[in-house]
């Protein structure tokens, strides 16, 4: 006789989410998600704010990866206006976006380690994330919600001494992540806990619309940065990490390798960055028309559908958030698994409820 158990919203591991689990003994038969605890109506607010006022607001859709979200929105605005940012600004955007990605991946790694009881790893990741936050603070003036990327370019140039400090931190992190590898990914207990747990096949991952590192962990070779390049990504050299197994371990591993690739991208961008202006003037209104753009955020692909009506406010803004799409994968996998695996599967997807709810 199945019993319905509410996992969350007061569960220490759940975040702003309730999963209603139909449990028989220790086995979860069926899962129903209940989200919306942090719904702020961001899509409706967009219709009441000028397009420039909305830049800080969209960053609140995903605090842990704010520059990438701002970039997605700003690219939609620019595409609608037909404006292109200057070359130097493109590189600066890539630097901010990749630092933001590292910050997001380290946080995901910290949380996943916590579910397995690997508290050392949690503290290591959180500590090293602090170095990235300091770099971002130096570059943008804020630690988490940066509001650095704006229509037409970026708000300010590289500060004095940033390059030197960035190379110091990145060189350290480049060595340091191999400690993570030894500590976490080669750890027998962690492997037992995550390998073969929550296996998503390639076909299922595609049809469920799963995106980002979770999609690439299932063997799908797709990354917007390479396949639909934006900003300066087509001039930078990096690998798209693809793994085959599709289990929780692989999803964490893909994110781990992506940290190394992000470091590589930032180093190149800092070396190759051209001189020039960092911002161009943009028109005060959004022209009539519509546009759909996508960028690769830390959690996956962010799609922005923007309709302009010839005023300074968007007529309609749709945020197709990566965690919203990955939620379908999570619910699909939380069937016929032991209840103890639920937190592992949940954190392996790196779902942030702020961007599911918007």
């Amino acid at each position: 006789m199945p019993v319905r158990v509410a996992w969350g919203i007061q569960h220490p591991m759940s975040g702003h989410l309730t999963l209603y689990l139909d449990v028989d003994g220790d086995v979860v038969l069926n899962t129903e998600p209940d989200v919306g605890y942090t719904h702020r109506g961001l899509e409706k607010i967009a219709e009441y704010r000028t397009y420039l006022q909305y830049v800080p607001i969209i960053e609140r859709a995903c605090d842990f990866d704010s520059s990438n979200f701002a970039l997605g929105y700003v690219r939609a605005v620019e595409a609608l206006m037909g404006v292109e940012a200057p070359e130097r600004a493109k590189y600066l955007r890539v630097i901010a976006a990749e630092l933001s990605r590292i910050m997001s991946h380290l946080y995901a790694q910290a949380l996943l380690s916590m579910t397995g009881g690997f508290e050392t790893m949690t503290v290591w990741s959180a500590n090293d994330r602090e170095l990235i936050l300091d770099l971002l603070e130096m570059l943008t003036g804020a630690r988490v919600t940066h509001t650095y990327i704006v229509p037409g370019g970026v708000r300010w140039d590289l500060p004095k001494g940033f390059k030197e400090r960035a190379f110091e931190v990145l060189n350290y992190l480049e060595r340091r992540i191999w400690d993570y590898y030894k500590m976490l990914f080669q750890n027998r207990t962690f492997q037992d806990r995550t390998m073969g747990v929550g296996v998503l096949s390639k076909k299922e991952a595609v049809e469920l619309g799963v995106t980002g590192p979770s999609l690439r962990a299932s063997g799908v070779d797709f990354d917007v940065r390479r396949d639909d390049p934006y900003e300066a990504y087509d001039k930078l050299d990096f690998d798209v990490i693809v793994e085959k197994d599709g289990d929780s371990y692989t999803r964490a591993l893909v994110r781990f390798y992506e940290i190394a690739q992000s470091i590589r991208i930032i180093k190149q961008a800092l070396k190759d960055i051209p001189e020039g202006p960092i911002r161009v003037k943009v028109p005060p209104t959004l022209p009539k028309g519509e546009v759909y753009t996508r960028v690769e955020t830390g959690r996956g692909e962010l799609g922005i559908y923007l309709v302009g009506a010839g005023t300074n406010k968007p007529y309609r803004l749709k945020i197709s958030a990566p965690s919203f799409r990955n939620l379908a994968g999570l619910v699909y996998l939380c069937r016929d698994v032991p209840m103890g695996d639920i937190p592992v599967i949940y954190y392996s997807f790196d779902i942030l409820l702020l961007d599911v709810d918007r």
Binding site: G36, G209, D228, Y292, V307, R316, S320, R325
Partner: protein
């Protein structure tokens, strides 16, 4: 199949329900069909390799008396996007669900129903998702008649 071929294929096989099909920019096409041809169009797109659903958007146009629903679907092989769109009347908006074609649109459709009141016939779980449980019946926040109150 790349977007140029998809547009040709759609023009050849869906002529009776097709309203518009064109390639807007590189790797991005939009296809507009009548509501009754939506399922057929979706199946055709899936045959062409467009199996990765990205987003479902509803846009309210009160002056035209219509709600437009747009499915953005991606192809992994061709790195391309197709926007499949259709329009329904505002008074009694109803569309067949595409959940059986693309599993991933399940929650997207649920959200569109909740925010704009578009009823997806055949959807197994059409109930509140993001809004609170005591939200008033028949009030759809993303419709234009729903106004936000000024804060001051």
């Amino acid at each position: 199949m790349n977007v140029d071929k998809v547009v040709e294929e759609v023009k050849a096989r869906l002529a009776d329900v097709l309203l518009e099909a064109k390639v807007e920019r590189k790797n991005y096409a939009h296809i507009k069909v009548k509501p009754e041809g939506l399922v057929r169009a979706a199946q055709l797109l899936k045959e062409c390799g467009y199996s990765h659903p990205a987003s479902v958007t509803g846009v309210d146009y009160p002056d035209r008396g219509e709600i437009e629903v747009i499915y953005h679907v991606e192809s992994i092989e061709d790195k391309a996007i197709v926007a499949l769109r259709t329009a329904v009347s505002r008074d009694n908006p109803s569309l067949p669900t595409l959940r059986d074609v693309w599993m991933g649109v399940h929650y997207h459709e649920r959200e569109t129903w909740e925010m704009l009141g578009v009823k997806f016939e055949g959807h197994p779980e059409l109930k509140r998702f993001l809004l609170q449980e005591d939200w008033e019946e028949g009030v759809y926040p993303l419709r234009k008649e729903f106004k936000l109150k000024p804060e001051s």
